[in-house]
Symmetry: C2
Subunit: 326 residues, 2 copies
């Protein structure tokens, strides 16, 4: 039986929406128990559902929170859900609330796996090749990272690509401002050398923001600050383009008719680019599975976040990291 | 009479393509003389054209070049074109070749305007609001920048927005990994304070990669390394989305028919997002106008790059920077 702890609070659409994912998930997977942490009166849908346990928590962690403030919220759904992993009551935690809160709680409560210098926040991205994902880390757990931390991110990303994406010898790239060796900050140049020397990795050199998502890359390593800029500028540009596409189809009666004819292709495009299918970002390198679902998660997105956590447990992701780093 | 120096070599489509822009430009603007630097036998189209001077240069600077190597290429079209500005033979230089070569040459030959700590490479971006541009700098002249350099970028970007985009009190943002004050690296936090204290700027706080191009921002300030990641990830995502749009319209006979009906709207979208209209990036803060046209510039793009340089001279951009920084 796989046990997962879910923070049901703090998402944009509320615990009622996330409850639907919970019901669907236990219905489809018979070997799972879901511990649902949150305000009991908002989780009434879950009462009596088989293999679902409701743990009443009055406090809800706000989106922006300092470490100090968070540590005082011991009775919050987020803190208690992470604590459940620490206590061995669950193997993974899923949260659609505060990213910084989840990262802080996981770092302080679960602690890094021995040998892991820095845990990384990793996002699998859809790419120009339909069906091919590229995992990029760190996208914002840190600001700056040392070369050895970047080397560690390369290893963490590779383990993920092997375990979850079923890629035997994942290609690893370093995000820089040019593809040639010697491009970038001093940290990048030093990390390049370390990654090149690490024979367990299939390091291919630098890549630029332009080709990170071309579908030919499995793992892209970056410091947290530029990684976060990358993540959000991809999101922003996709949303900008979507806005222009909508406008283009609304231009006149002909373009509206054109949409009706072309919508099959655009539906397929939307499916290929749907972040909800990915489920969430993974905070890698701590003692437990930690998945951050999107703040605006609907039933489908949160379902996939639970599923991502489930598959990471199933593939013994934490044990694989321990083996690599110890 | 406005004199501009053009490096005709080093672009993807070659000097013949750029020559077309030259002919069109002198035909349309009667108060301009264009000094065309390049291999004479490749510029035969320009022979005898009024207000066009051909300066034969045998050497062509390759895309990737070290500073040391560049300094030895004194007879290259790039070095001679930049030198023409230094010598007062031209007020601006336009180049579609090596970015790093142009930046190095401009820095060493033209030197920074007094009071400018660091010149910045600035790209105007199209945004979610059709017709509204946002200027972002630095996008790659530096790797790391000090807080005072970032403050300087805010001033340079504001002068550009006033002069060229006709915005009276341009809003200035700082690119970070969160909108709240206190987000980002130490340099970003310190730059935030300096920008806030500078009363000549309309500083609005941090912005994220997600909303930098929402069309509500005039100037976005960033260090060169994350700025370059931003620039290229926007380009990469736009190209990824364009690929999916094409595929969507090619799905079947109906979607192809849909394209025929909707193409008016998509033509408009293409025009709104056309980087060629912007002309190029500006290397700001040196003694002279320096415009980098896209390496793949066609007639339209290089024409607009010449025009951008022309307008910067016309608006006395360099004098305005001197006034602000001295």
């Amino acid at each position: 039986m796989i046990k997962l702890a879910l923070d049901m609070m703090g998402s944009d659409l509320g615990p009622e929406e996330l409850s639907k994912s919970v019901i669907r998930f236990v219905h489809e997977k018979k070997d799972v128990t879901l511990l649902c942490f949150g305000q009991k009166d908002k989780l009434t849908n879950l009462e009596g559902v088989e293999r679902v346990e409701i743990i009443d928590c009055e406090q809800v962690v706000p989106m922006e929170i300092s470490s100090l403030h968070l540590l005082r919220m011991k009775n919050s759904s987020l803190m208690k859900a992470v604590k459940a992993v620490k206590d061995g009551d669950a193997e993974g935690v899923v949260c659609a609330g505060s990213s910084s809160g989840l990262i802080t709680a996981a770092t302080l409560i679960l602690k890094n796996i021995e040998g892991v210098e820095r845990a990384g926040f990793c996002t699998p991205f859809v790419t120009a090749k339909a069906g091919h994902q590229t995992v990029i880390l760190d996208v914002g757990a840190s600001n700056e990272n040392t070369p050895t931390e970047l080397l560690g991110f390369g290893k963490l990303g590779s383990i993920y690509a092997k375990d979850l994406l079923d890629i035997k010898n994942p290609s690893v790239y370093l995000l820089s401002n040019g593809t040639e060796e010697g491009k970038g900050t001093q940290e990048i140049k030093d990390a390049f050398k370390l990654l090149e020397e690490e024979k367990s990795l299939n390091f291919k050199g630098n890549c630029e923001g332009r080709d990170a998502l071309d579908g030919d890359k499995d793992v892209v390593v970056t410091s947290g600050f530029p990684g976060n800029i990358f993540l959000k500028s991809v999101e922003g540009t996709a949303s900008l383009m979507n806005g222009y596409i909508k406008k283009a189809f609304k231009k006149n009666i002909w373009s509206k008719l054109g949409y009706l004819l072309a919508r099959g292709g655009f539906k397929e495009m939307k499916e290929n680019l749907d972040y909800r299918k990915i489920g969430g970002a993974i905070f890698m390198g701590v003692n437990g599975i930690v998945v951050k679902a999107h703040g605006s998660s609907d039933e489908e997105a949160f379902y996939n976040a639970i599923d991502l956590s489930y598959r990471l447990v199933e593939h013994k992701f934490v044990e694989d990291i321990r083996r690599e780093f110890n």
